[in-house]
């Protein structure tokens, strides 16, 4: 259902969004989920930068550099037309079970954001299990004044929230809710 968030890029008429001009207000969101599995087990699934197959919207991941700083990956989000999100790793900490990455190129009709950075962290939960936290900071897809509705601040927040929720929901399904 929520796969519609990643709309197939029919025509690549827009320049890839790199860290250039942006809207006036940076947005931020944090989405968390609690699961029954311990952090080590969860991290063994989500803690590889080169493998995002745990996310239902990711059709394929390819990349290079492993979990080293400046490693890159390309998330292909649909079989049809191969719309992709190019990302780069800028922080990776096995001990803290956390990694941080940025989008280096994405069409705004794939994900309506610019200047996007994100952190994925797995923490122990009081009473057992894990808390998975996914945080993002980004500007809307339209860099200038008077954005169209599908590229405004609300559209950016909605799209990123949807991506995070979809991924975290899948992890809750996979590992079970705590206490259940």
């Amino acid at each position: 259902m929520k796969r519609r968030l990643f709309l197939a890029a029919a025509a690549c008429t827009l320049m890839p969004s790199i860290a250039l001009a942006h809207g006036p207000t940076r947005q931020k969101i944090t989405v968390t989920a609690e699961v029954a599995a311990d952090p080590t087990e969860v991290w063994s699934v989500v803690g590889g930068f080169q493998d995002m197959s745990w996310h239902p919207a990711v059709f394929a991941t390819k990349g290079e550099g492993g979990n080293e700083i400046d490693a890159t990956r390309v998330l292909v989000v649909s079989e049809e037309g191969w719309p992709a999100i190019d990302e780069i790793l800028y922080k990776f900490c096995d001990e803290k079970k956390s990694y941080s990455y940025r989008i280096t190129a994405v069409e705004v009709d794939v994900l309506p954001v610019t200047n996007y950075s994100s952190h994925l962290t797995v923490k122990p939960r009081d009473g057992g299990g894990s808390i998975i936290e996914w945080r993002g900071a980004f500007y809307r897809g339209y860099p200038n004044n008077d954005p169209p509705e599908d590229l405004n601040d609300e559209a950016a927040i909605k799209a990123v929230t949807g991506v995070y929720e979809l991924g975290l929901d899948a992890l809750v399904e996979r590992f079970g809710a705590p206490g259940s």
Partner: protein, 318 residues
Amino acid sequence: MRLWNDLVRQALRGLALLICTPAAADVAYITCQTGDALNVIDLGRGADVITWDVPGKPAGVATGSNYVLTVSADSKVIRKLDAATGAVLAQTELDGGPIGVALDGQRQRVYVSDWYNARIWVLDLETLSTISILATGEAPAGLSLSEDGRWLASADKEANQVTLFDAQSLNKIHQVAVGTRPFGLNFAPDGRLFVGNVGSDDLTVVDPDIGRAVATVPVGQRPYGVSFAKGRAFVTNQYENTVSVIDTDSLQHVQTIDVGEYPEGVDTVADGTKVVLANWFDNTISIIDANTLSVIETLPTCDGPRAFGRFLVKGAVQ
């Protein structure tokens, strides 16, 4: 009733300040962009935070002796607030993309950068009416006035340059190529201009008198703001959650200090003993001891603190 309660509370605070702290405390005015608010944080009494509503996504800030200027990026409204009460003393709605702000108390002017239209508004400090408009390079963001009042500088982000104006005549004197995508900048006490380049992860040091870059200093990832204390520059590195400390004489890296997530606006208290910065993602400010170079306190703020500009003032809230 609310007003009365506020007045009583402020009177009591004033009394408490007089009793507890004979010297006026440093006060931080933190613009919270997502929270549409301004936090007033008495650094001597950290937990007691006042919140004023400032709609329109405020980011830019500049403090005067008894007033605060804010720039709301979405609504494009500039406000001059009474520093003690938060009352709106003047406000104006601009167009384009107002973002950075600098105060020129000596000439009773306010400078505001227009991110979208390569210009600076020169406003009257009393009324905030437009006196003049200055042309810059593309996407001016940070503004700074030199301590002697001679120079006004803008960081022209998409032009990879700074523009230097004679602040008296408002004539454009120099355009100086710097690193990639300069955003924040500040004049050091010795008169040199330090420019943070978010695209090339370095600082460019500019001599305004000769209109040239004299040094490039590597710092952390995505350097955003710079302030000075004890002969050192303190640079917030947005993507690294750190502050780079640079010796302003040798331009050597002294230390890296861990702070909160997405550190942004940074300023120094009047006596130079502390450096204060806003952590945008964490909704906190970090207070750094400028002697020991360690974080001595972390205080909560409203949502999305930017504090883009000079946000500290000595003893404004009584």
